[in-house]
């Protein structure tokens, strides 16, 4: 009896978990890219760190809410099973959420921190420690969290890819596809925030974010491409499952909305915006509205990738 067990809660979680991973990754990178005590990307690091914990924590609530017995979720943390991607993922999420919260606190300005901790009961050693000045710890926290952000980004793909009975998922490319999609959605969120931040555009910030996002989207594209080619050259079950996107219910949403509008269109806009820097080494003048549109397209693309994979994967099977 074939049923679709994982629906929109899981899709949203996969998107939100990836988004946090991307936000943290870019923020950590910006934190670590200090140049002779000069911090050209301080705003990226700060916004990224302030935003990173929340999507993944919301996603975790969705995950727990999706369980048949939500109050048994603690049982996930009574076991560590190396062969179960979900078990590894639960631990990664727990550790990553903790580290991203730590970076959040470390990135608060002094008055913000005081305002926040006034409202909390001022007892307990941990709270006292957190209410102290952690800003000197930003770089170690960022460096510590970096591998965990990659872990959270990649595990969502491993979760699906490790299911041997679903030919649509069971390739070695889904994990990387999800990772680079995750990193690009985090990057896009920061582009969106900077575009809406009101102040004038700092060319140096946009250069970093666009460069990173071009890298992520290009990598994602060159993973989607071999995914399709290898699938078509693979065994019958895989070829049949690819029909879901090559001539089935997900064809339109895959080619037009995900690959076209969600991946290639923003990639083209970003390359166009970067052209002056790439070609003539001059300073580019970035357009704010265009940046916002690009970011929204990338975010929609990241969501649609997960939508397509969660549903199409569950519909695929050996005959």
């Amino acid at each position: 009896m074939k049923t679709i067990e994982w629906g929109f809660l899981i899709i949203n979680y996969l998107f939100l978990g990836g988004l946090s991973a991307g936000l943290f990754f870019v923020a950590a990178l910006a934190t670590l890219l200090e140049h002779n005590g000069d911090r050209p990307y301080a705003r990226i690091a700060r916004y990224g760190a302030l935003l990173a914990p929340w999507p993944v924590m919301l996603g975790c609530f969705l995950l727990i809410f999706d369980l048949g017995k939500w109050y048994r979720f603690y049982k996930l943390f009574l076991h560590l099973r190396w062969v179960s991607p979900m078990s590894i993922g639960s631990w990664l999420l727990l550790i990553f959420s903790g580290i991203s919260l730590l970076l959040f606190v470390a990135s608060l300005a002094k008055e913000e921190r005081q305002r926040l901790f006034q409202k909390l009961p001022a007892s307990g050693a941990i709270l006292r420690l957190l209410s102290g000045d952690l800003s000197a710890w930003q770089r170690p926290i960022a460096a510590l969290g970096l591998p965990f952000s990659i872990g959270v980004g990649i595990y969502t793909g491993v979760l699906l890819g490790a299911v041997q009975s679903r030919p649509f998922w069971n390739t070695n490319l889904v994990a990387q596809m999800f990772l680079f999609s995750a990193l690009s959605t985090g990057c896009a969120t920061l582009i969106l925030v900077l575009a809406l931040a009101g102040k004038r555009i700092e060319a140096v910030e946009f250069r970093l974010l666009y460069t990173l996002d071009i890298c992520f989207l290009t990598l994602e594209f060159f993973i989607v491409l071999p995914y399709l080619i290898h699938g078509e050259l693979s065994v019958e079950a895989v070829r049949e499952s690819l029909q879901l996107i090559l001539g089935g219910p997900f064809t339109l949403v895959f080619w037009v909305f995900f690959l076209g509008l969600g991946l290639l269109a923003p990639l083209a806009i970003e390359v166009r915006e970067m052209a002056p820097v790439l070609l003539s080494k001059t300073v580019a003048h970035y357009s704010k509205p265009l940046a916002a549109v690009t970011a929204l397209l990338v975010l929609a693309g990241g969501f649609l990738l997960r939508y397509i994979f969660v549903f199409a994967g569950q519909m695929s099977a050996f005959k």
Binding site: T3, L67, G68, L76, S84, R166, F318
Partner: protein, 183 residues
Amino acid sequence: MAARQKRYALAIDARKCINCKACSVACRAENRVPLGKGRNWMNEELRGEYPKLMAVFEAEQCHHCADPACVRVCPTGASYQRPDGIVAIKDTECVGCRYCVVACPYDARFFREDRGVVEKCDLCAKRVDRAELPACVETCPSKVRVFGDLNDPNSKLHELLSKRQYRLKKPEAGTGPQIYYLL
């Protein structure tokens, strides 16, 4: 000499099946399976064209795989395999994530919305432990189902599998299924 480790399995002689569905009814009664779900089910197929027709009835349920994907992906260890090969679920450990339902190549598991946990065929492990047959096997009027221990050379199952040709379903999924469909 120590007793040999048991390995329970099922053979299905589909040509004998008359599609009475007594196996499904017996399972439903034995395991209190709600309507609309099933631990076992019938695959019905019509082949050929009139007047050369054939109806194929093939019973299916959990294949109690040698290398079960459901057990591997379970994050809490609720899905487990007994030493005698039976794949079962520890009800109290299941969190209802449904990863196993997604991972089963045979779609042999289902989610009980009312109980919030996953259920499946456990070859009536409680009956088997009392040296009784699984309910579906016991009730089958045309003796389609043969339950036994693969490691017992005196069992009917052992004899059938050494004398008859058989087919496994979806062995390419790589889980080592243990329902033997006799040809």
